[in-house]
């Protein structure tokens, strides 16, 4: 069932969205619950099955299943489940959920609806670059359509009711993945993190999901994996969806501007060191025989910086994004057709880098 996903590339990998030199992707989650069931953690298997059936019935009647597919998690093995997490099609927490559950995935892999994650319904929309507004507009339309057929848990005072009290209100969590190597090099990352906090947002280094294996966790404490940081809104109650989108977009733009200025500063003050960093990364990509994921992501960070600074014209952001996704463990295992040990994964990853950056 997932073979078609493996062959077909996700739309956001193209790297052609606005501000894609810094903003890798935008990802919005919208949490909704049905009024007449407890939240999934408190549901029995039968209740979860009833919820899944009800939602599937509605998706079918709205003809949504024609432009996508529904994967029941009970039909997938661990490797396939991790693959969906690595593609950003479901949240990592979905792996820990239990019982009947699944995910509807649109054909272009830009929109999903998870059923029986922490909430009954989790909508997710993803797009290249800084596109939170477009994602929200599209997601809101589908939400409206479903709201006509499902009775949502809603209170006039608190808005949409959710399993976590931190999501209640709009139920909207917007994320932008930012590549911030220059803010790291100029030691401005702490300032950016504080600015985000003051404005009721969180900027945090991308962490290695547990699914990636223990050896990949061996990296300097506090260092962001591949200089990638997620910016997300903290508050869902007291601000409307449009305001939420407006504020995160504004803040992301500020950070993008600062990152670009820092890159420019490095280019003019230390061009040789920058070229050295990019050149070394290319050397590793072309020569390494074993690459753990944390090392691979640091190589990709330098190459991404090289591409967006115009130092590596032979490569594209599309290629970098594609390698970032396909060099993850479950992607390698899906391609090989079976689970692999650490050594085999590192070897396969190095092979992938050698062939893609020849």
């Amino acid at each position: 069932m997932l073979e078609t996903l493996l062959e077909r590339e996700a739309q956001w990998l193209s790297g052609d969205g606005p501000e894609a030199d810094v903003a890798v992707y935008s990802l919005c989650h919208l949490f909704r619950n049905l009024a007449d069931f407890p939240y999934p953690d408190q549901c029995t298997e039968d209740e979860k099955r009833m919820i899944e059936e009800r939602v599937l019935g509605v998706l079918e009647s709205l003809n949504l299943l024609a432009s996508g597919q529904y994967c029941s998690f009970l039909d997938l093995d661990s490797r396939e489940q991790r693959f969906l997490v690595e593609r950003r099609l479901v949240r990592p927490e979905f792996l820990q959920a239990e019982g009947p559950r699944g995910v509807y995935i649109s054909d272009d892999q830009s929109f999903t609806i998870s059923v029986n994650d922490e909430n009954h319904l989790t909508f997710a929309g993803i797009a290249s670059g800084l596109q939170v507004q477009d994602i929200w507009s599209r997601m809101s339309l589908i939400d409206d359509t479903l709201a006509g057929a499902l009775d949502y848990a809603f209170s006039e005072r608190l808005g949409y009711l959710t399993a976590q009290i931190g999501q209640v209100g709009t139920g909207l969590r917007a994320n932008v993945l930012l590549h911030l190597p220059a803010l790291h090099l100029t030691n401005l990352i702490a300032t950016a993190t504080n600015t985000a906090r003051e404005k009721r947002h969180t900027l945090e280094g991308m962490v290695v999901p547990k699914t990636l294996g223990p050896s990949d966790l061996r990296r300097p404490k506090g260092a962001a994996l591949g200089d990638l940081h997620t910016l997300s809104n903290d508050c869902t109650l007291g601000r409307s969806e449009e305001e939420t989108i407006f504020h995160i977009k504004h803040l992301a733009n500020e950070m993008i501007k600062e990152e670009r200025e820092s890159r420019q500063q490095i280019l003019s003050e230390a061009p040789l060191q920058l070229e050295d960093r990019v050149g070394r990364a290319l050397g590793l990509a072309r020569g390494a025989r074993l690459l753990a994921f944390h090392e691979a992501s640091s190589v990709l960070s330098s190459l991404r910086l090289g591409v967006s600074s115009g130092l590596l014209e032979q490569f594209s952001l599309h290629q970098i994004n594609d390698v970032l996704i396909t060099s993850q463990n479950a992607h390698i295992e899906m391609k090989r057709g079976h689970e692999c040990d650490e050594l085999a994964l590192s070897a396969e990853r190095a092979d992938l880098f050698r062939s893609r950056f020849a």
Binding site: N33, P38, Q42, S155, R157, L237, H250
Partner: protein, 172 residues
């Protein structure tokens, strides 16, 4: 008000925790907050400093409940809720209104929902709520000197107002 722990500094944050099975709600200064945060076990993270001061309702003594109080519908206990930040069902929000409010005050901007309403049949109500949002956004954009967004918001507001006027004229 003064910090309820040291009684010396001005209180700047509201701090809720479960002590001996009871939910306590304190106003603390930054120093006492730091000292408390060091001493509490990890996993308790709902009392981050809130910049919104002086507007909060005090939890009166008789509203403070035993931590083993349970939700009438799903039997989630108050203790579980305080530990995880997760409720078991929609009724939990009605079962523990005061306690949840104290927790949510530290997390959110305000305690009243602004935004979408499901199955809103009256198109005019929807337009009015959209207008309210856009006017707030316009104010924010102007205060940020973001004139590009402000200009397009002003156009959108004008269009919505025209539409609203026309539909109301039609109704009358």
């Amino acid at each position: 008000m003064l910090c309820q722990n040291c009684h010396k500094n001005l209180a700047s944050v509201r701090y809720a925790e479960v002590v001996d099975g009871k939910v306590s709600d304190l106003r603390l200064c930054q120093d006492c907050l730091a000292a408390r945060e060091e001493s509490v076990s990890p996993g308790f993270e709902f009392s981050k400093p809130s910049p919104f001061l002086g507007k909060k309702k005090d939890l009166s003594v008789n509203e403070v409940r035993e931590a083993d109080a349970t939700c009438t519908a799903c039997a989630t206990t108050l203790q579980e809720l305080m530990d995880t930040g997760k409720v078991g069902c929609s009724i939990c929000y009605e079962s523990f209104p005061a306690e949840l409010e104290a927790l949510m005050e530290g997390i959110h901007i305000a305690l009243t929902h602004r935004g979408k309403i499901p199955r809103l049949d009256d198109a005019r109500v929807r337009v009015r709520s959209e207008l309210q949002t856009k006017r707030t956004l316009l104010k924010t954009a102007l205060s940020m000197e973001n004139y590009e967004d402000a200009a397009s918001l002003r156009d959108e507001i004008r269009a919505l107002e025209l539409g609203l006027g026309a539909s109301e004229a039609g109704v009358d």
